[in-house]
Subunit: 446 residues, 2 copies
């Protein structure tokens, strides 16, 4: 059997390795358009932050290892451009300028996403960068040194924008951030978003929310980002306003698309063609809390999806329950975490959400080094069901959110969650964990 995989990063290489491990006799081919496979894309900002680190230390396993040790037919520089579902053939071009065709019995589309490129004049200027893959990372890291970059304008204020902001500040580079929306993190309770805003300002970042971006101009020495009522200049411009799924050839082949043009898949990761799977940032997912399809590109889900596809292709018949939307990031000394639905999400999904915001200590009463943890929690007034939580703090946030994530997987009520036997010791929190306090407060609104 020929199992062909388009895309050689998280979902694709996870699927390839697992399929070959279960069924060594299976022909497993990976078609990757770049020359890089299996690297930690999420680690890019942290690598850029560290001038002494090689970019290649993000590579988890080299291409040659997949070929020689695992027997995977890994073809880099192979860009798939068309898919014929009836003939079961993918077609494309190679980096050397040739063309190729490849027949498949089972196909996995794991083409990921690409950075959104706003349609404004100047977006293609050489110092206007985006960060999605390791090649982008190399380009940015070289540019910083070659052009002796002292100031960067970042367009966008999402996870990547914030992580890159920290990376650049760590290299002593001035950073100004701009975006059209008014709130720094619009999915977050305003009070929590303001804590993040304070942290950025304390670290010398200039924030300009609420300004539409009109164009980018080259100046003698750098770039001018011309916005609605504002002009920001820098030696480099980073565009980090989000990503979109690479799903065009799937759509053109007649596969069904879903939220945000992601490829629609069932719980077994099958597309509308049952011989074609999709996983990772190009595919949609079932949201366990909303009960609806969603598209949240995240690394764990990509890896898990790759494994599930491999299992299904090798005859194990696996279904994935879905996601609850857990995400964390670090920005300077703050940990930021979310899981589940926001109040706005919850309303859209037909719930009647109530929300609380609580401030608690990060350590027990009287324990030295206490800081504040800000937590918000949302539940459905009609059923008491826990719907989501968000946290911001200097410590004890990133892993704490997982308790709520597991509760969401089990459709727990706030009352049920608040009765859980969570950990306590003075260096790590108050007797009532911040999340239990949030739950106790939230119960009063139900």
């Amino acid at each position: 059997m020929d199992f062909v995989i388009i895309g050689g990063d998280a979902a694709g290489m996870s699927a390839a390795s697992r399929a070959k491990r279960s069924k060594p006799e299976m022909n497993v081919t990976v078609l990757e358009m770049t020359n890089d496979v299996s690297y930690s894309a999420c680690g890019l900002p942290y690598n850029i932050a560290a001038p002494e680190r090689e970019m290649d230390d993000l590579i988890v396993r080299k291409a040659q290892v997949f070929r020689d040790k695992q027997g995977i037919d890994l073809l880099t520089g192979h860009r798939v451009e068309a898919l014929d579902c009836d003939a079961k053939i993918v077609k494309g071009t190679t980096a050397e300028g040739g063309t190729f065709e490849k027949k498949y019995d089972k196909l996995l589309i794991a083409t990921g996403g690409r950075s959104i490129k706003p349609d404004i004049p100047g977006i293609d200027l050489p110092g206007v960068m985006a960060l999605k893959n390791i090649a982008d990372g190399r380009r940015i890291k070289s540019f910083l040194i070659e052009k002796n970059v002292k100031k960067v304008v970042i367009i966008g204020m999402g996870y990547i924008a914030l992580e890159m902001c920290e990376a650049l500040r760590g290299r002593g580079i001035e950073v100004a951030m701009v975006k059209p929306g008014k709130q720094l993190l619009p999915w977050m309770s305003e009070e929590l978003s303001d804590v993040v805003k304070g942290e950025l300002e304390d670290n010398g970042v200039s924030l300009y929310p609420g300004h539409a971006i009109e164009k980018i101009e080259e100046t003698g020495s750098g770039y001018n980002v011309v916005c609605d009522g504002l002009e920001l200049s820098g030696d480099m411009v980073l565009v980090a306003i989000g990503i979109i799924p690479n799903s065009e050839f799937a759509r053109d082949a007649g596969l069904e698309l879903s939220v945000g043009n992601s490829i629609s898949v069932d719980t077994g990761l099958r597309t509308s063609d049952s011989d074609i799977y999709a996983a990772g940032d190009c595919a949609d997912a079932h949201h366990i809390v909303s009960g609806q399809k969603t598209w949240i590109p995240l690394a764990l889900w990509a890896n898990r999806g790759g494994w599930a596809v491999a299992d299904n292709v090798t005859g194990k018949d696996v279904e994935l329950q879905g996601i609850v939307g857990t995400a964390i990031f670090k920005v300077f000394d703050l940990e930021v975490a979310r899981t589940g639905l926001t109040v706005a999400d919850a309303e859209k999904a037909g719930f009647e959400p109530a929300e609380v915001m609580v401030k608690t200590r990060s350590k027990a009463h009287g324990h030295p080094g206490n800081t504040t943890i800000f937590s918000s929690m949302t539940a459905d007034v009609k059923t008491g069901r826990l719907l989501g939580a968000q946290m911001v703090g200097r410590e004890g946030v990133a892993h704490r959110i997982n308790a709520v994530a597991v509760a969401l997987h089990n459709s727990m009520t706030v009352e049920g969650f608040t009765s859980c036997d969570l950990s306590y010791a003075p260096p790590f929190g108050p007797v009532w964990d911040p999340l239990l306090t949030a739950g106790n407060q939230l119960m009063k609104k139900l």
Copy 2:
């Protein structure tokens, strides 16, 4: 209605405050044998570690606040010595040498526990201390200064012993630890226990497991702890071999006792006399994983129990689901965590346990500052049900364990837990959380 509470710490004061808040017209009396109420007992080692801290900064709320602001009739220096369930009267003596009797409609026994005092010669010598309450803390802290203590022998190697070990080393005091058992933390997988052992040794602690303690002798300048095949000398001896519930007068009054002589209660915290409740370290609990009664004295359960009793006494009819045995502690730079059943517990409870031990990184591939996290996980081979987990590491342990705790509350299988959407970002862990990796490995044994 007269609601009388015996014991003014975690369970007792939680119950008193909550009852008075819900029903201000209720007469709420607390009989506390010491002069201290509502303090963070778990914080004692950390306070002792810091010469500049006042012991009273562990007090969460002063006695006078409960009296004046909350209208609770809080009687300190009142030791209850007998209980007449038929007449509904408690009797005791006051610190001034008088006696008292108090009639109740509903009674809460929240008498906590006391340190186990082994029956060996020398146990009552002045420099032989135990640490259970704030008075013990004051005594130890003064003794350290007055006697210019340079070396302490700790008998026992449990949580408190280890926390005190760190506290004393932090003050530059030499520490030797001795106990009869062979393994440092006998409830822990040996490989994990050995990591803790290494940390203690790296911090200059001398460990002598496997030596029965025979007697303690006064020397000219300090004490000699005479053990089987070993003599250890110090300026002070700390006995920390565990606690037992203060349940004697409850037993004498005819109330049913349970595991380890704790007072048997139902899910509503009622004892065998339905007008008498018990909560906190003196009462037993239902273990959700084993389905059996257990006795694990921990602060959160005491607070939660106090609230539940208050709710029941004020007519809200609350039942507590039980505990899963979550506990964490810090020892030097290590975080140690457990939840659920050990392999031995699981066998006793009728399961057929399988266990794995995995070593993972604390951060993503290539991320600077990576350390090792050791995790063990246990499941039932017959049903695939997750039974427990333990973790040791320099970071990312204390709150991570809560994800497993919530899974145990929901009787999840390992497969279900391993499909959970846990958090990921490079500074906080690998893409597959250490607990997910443990779960993935454990599934291979099921």
